[in-house]
């Protein structure tokens, strides 16, 4: 049993510094008492994004070891594979249930599958030369290509966008909604998305509704459903999503509004 409370050597794998004690559930039908602890941690991480971040941080050695198994080398922080492995671990947290057995085995499988998927996707780009590749004179390929982009403008735009997003996040907190909540509550089906966009378009055409929304900090579901002639039930299911998009539609978020304006105008995103 690997308690993880000290440095351990894996045959063929690099050594990781274990910062927090954790347990790997072994096979053979015996379940470690600490297994209940990890399961409770996983269930807590399902609801709380901060708990999820903490759990990922705690099991970073495990994630790195699984990535190393795939890469046959020790992963570095800049490796996309490590990012994908962490993302797969987060997916495992969200999709785990007790019926699926040991969490770590389940997470290892998820990580492996994700890395294989990524490898297959990236395989299409094999044989292409990277822009970061250096030539004989140690000059990067990117430096030799004429670039129309203005880095300074791009940086400015990114900073402005970041500021907008931070403002939006702060305003969303007043509504008791986080970005994670919005991502979880976002419509996935095209039909549901169209219903929501219809209601948002109706709100944009009626500034009084947006003003009431900002003042009362409540989504006027009944008003939107009646005015946009959509089902109230569909809007209620995506209330948190509507909060985020209605806030973007108010003044002050031009960059984000510009990002989704084509859809808000009724067009189709390419």
């Amino acid at each position: 049993m690997w308690t993880g409370s000290e440095k351990k050597f894996f045959s063929g794998y690099p050594v990781f510094e274990i910062s927090r004690p954790y347990t790997i559930i072994t096979g053979g039908g015996r379940m470690d008492p600490n297994a209940h602890q990890i399961i409770s941690q996983v269930y807590a991480a399902k609801k709380d994004s901060r708990a999820a971040d903490r759990l990922i941080e705690d099991y970073m050695p495990f994630i790195k070891s699984e990535t190393a198994k795939f890469l046959k080398r020790s992963p570095v922080q800049s490796d996309d594979e490590l990012s994908i492995a962490m993302f797969a671990f987060y997916e495992a947290i969200r999709s785990y249930s007790r019926l699926k057995g040991s969490f770590l085995k389940f997470a290892a499988l998820q990580i492996r599958n994700r890395l294989i998927d990524n490898y297959r996707r990236e395989k299409r780009n094999f044989g292409h030369v990277s822009l970061d590749a250096e030539d004989d004179d140690n000059n990067e390929l990117m430096d030799t290509i004429m670039d129309d982009h203005n880095d300074y403008e791009e940086k400015e735009l990114r900073e402005a966008t970041k500021q907008e997003i931070e403002e939006l996040s702060a305003q969303m907190e007043d509504f008791g909604v986080s970005m994670n909540d919005v991502a979880d509550n976002s419509p996935r089906q095209r039909r549901t998305l169209e219903v929501c966009q219809k209601a948002i378009s109706y709100a944009r055409n009626n500034p009084d509704i947006l003003e009431d929304f900002l003042r009362t900090k409540r989504v006027p579901i009944a008003c939107l459903a009646e005015g946009a002639d959509v089902e109230r039930k569909s809007l209620e299911r995506h209330r948190r999503y509507l909060v985020a998009v209605l806030l973007i539609c108010t003044n002050g978020y031009e960059i984000m509004r510009g990002h989704i304006m084509q859809v808000l105008k009724g067009g189709e995103a390419t």
């Binding site: 994004s49 990922i56 962490m86 997003i165 939006l168 984000m256 990002h259």
Partner: protein, 355 residues
């Protein structure tokens, strides 16, 4: 599709696409406010609409296959022609049967057959019943007369069913025996005695009716005398009062007399039995030979031993049938099934016994 990075965590990022959808994706070193393309998007934990559609489609396909299979099986068992029996008479009626042996349709390529089928529909009935009823109808219309040969041609897609049809043919034989009583009333056609001496000679002695024969068999002390000459064609002298009233010889025997045939107590009386005095027409049994006196005794003994053999009254030649079924080697076999031969053939058939 472009995605705007809205929030970054260590393991994931929240992106907003151009459709204003918010999604979780792998954080490939993204920064908030960055616009990215081709991210690694989180798979939905809930079943997607596409999966639901696939499940529904698969379930519908499974149901369709199930219903189609069941329906085809029902159709094949009940409505698909499994075998065909042709009753080779003047009407030449073809019975199409399902796998259960029920008649699906009756066809005929002759005018007389079509005429019969206008007034008769045996759909859904058992083949034995229909065969008997058709023979009865043909008898009543005079298409079959005494001594005629009725052949059954059987074809089937299943070789195994040929064997079962053989057994069914035995049932037809049994059914024919059952319908004898009705036949006496329906067919009053008398059998005229042979007029020419040749016919008299050709007429073989007809075995006694079952009851009469049994009684004969039960009286071993008295053996019927061997007739020195072929029986003289005389009107049958029935013991009942009804027969006495009938003066004309060709009149059919009354049912009472048929049910209670006279018991041969002495050789002289045995000679007087109606069936022994009766002769079949010459044209019905062209191959018949005059009976040999020394064989007559053995014939009676063989009749008693042969349990499957059918013994009937002399004028009910149809009942004197013997079903001969050759071995079926092919899927489509045309077999003479029901033969009405000379009564003498009941004991010693010139044809080989094929089963």
């Amino acid at each position: 599709m472009k995605y705007m990075v809205m929030e970054c965590h260590q393991a994931y990022a929240v992106l907003m696409d151009e459709d204003s959808r918010f999604i979780h994706a792998a954080n490939l070193h993204y920064k908030v406010g960055q616009v990215v393309t081709d991210p690694v998007i989180m798979e939905s934990t809930a079943p997607s609409s596409r999966n639901i559609r696939m499940i529904v489609t698969a379930a519908a396909a499974a149901c369709l296959v199930l219903f189609a299979g069941t329906g085809y099986r029902y159709y094949a068992n009940n409505f698909k022609t499994h075998s065909t029996i042709v009753i080779s008479t003047e009407a030449n009626i073809t019975m199409e049967l399902n796998s259960k042996g029920q008649v699906l349709s009756l066809k005929s390529d002759t005018e007389s057959g079509r005429e019969i089928l206008k007034s008769y529909s045996g759909k859904g009935k058992d083949k034995t019943t229909v065969a008997n009823e058709l023979i009865e109808i043909e008898k009543s219309k005079g298409m079959i007369t005494e001594g005629d040969k009725v052949e059954f041609y059987v074809s089937s897609s299943d070789p195994d069913s040929i064997d079962s049809l053989k057994k069914e043919m035995d049932n037809i034989k049994a059914k024919l025996e059952v319908t004898e009583g009705k036949h006496e009333e329906k067919v009053p056609e008398p059998i005229k005695p042979a007029e020419t001496p040749h016919e008299q000679e050709a007429a073989p002695p007809v075995p006694a009716a079952p009851k009469a024969e049994e009684k004969i068999a039960e009286s071993p002390k008295v053996e019927p005398a061997v007739p020195a000459e072929p029986p003289v064609p005389e009107p049958p002298k029935a013991e009942g009062p009804a027969e006495k009233a009938e003066a004309t010889p060709p009149a059919p025997e009354p049912p009472a007399a048929a049910e209670n045939p006279p018991v041969a107590e002495t050789p002289a009386e045995a000679e007087k039995l109606p069936h022994e005095r009766h002769e079949a027409p010459a044209h019905e049994v062209p191959h018949a030979e005059p009976p040999k006196p020394n064989e007559n005794k053995n014939e009676n003994k063989n009749e008693n031993k042969n349990e499957n053999h059918v013994i009937h009254k002399p004028h009910e030649r149809l009942a004197d049938t013997e079903i001969r079924l050759p071995e079926a080697n092919s899927n489509d076999v045309h077999l003479p099934k029901l033969i009405v031969p000379d009564p003498e053939m009941n004991n010693e058939s010139p044809l080989p016994d094929l089963y």
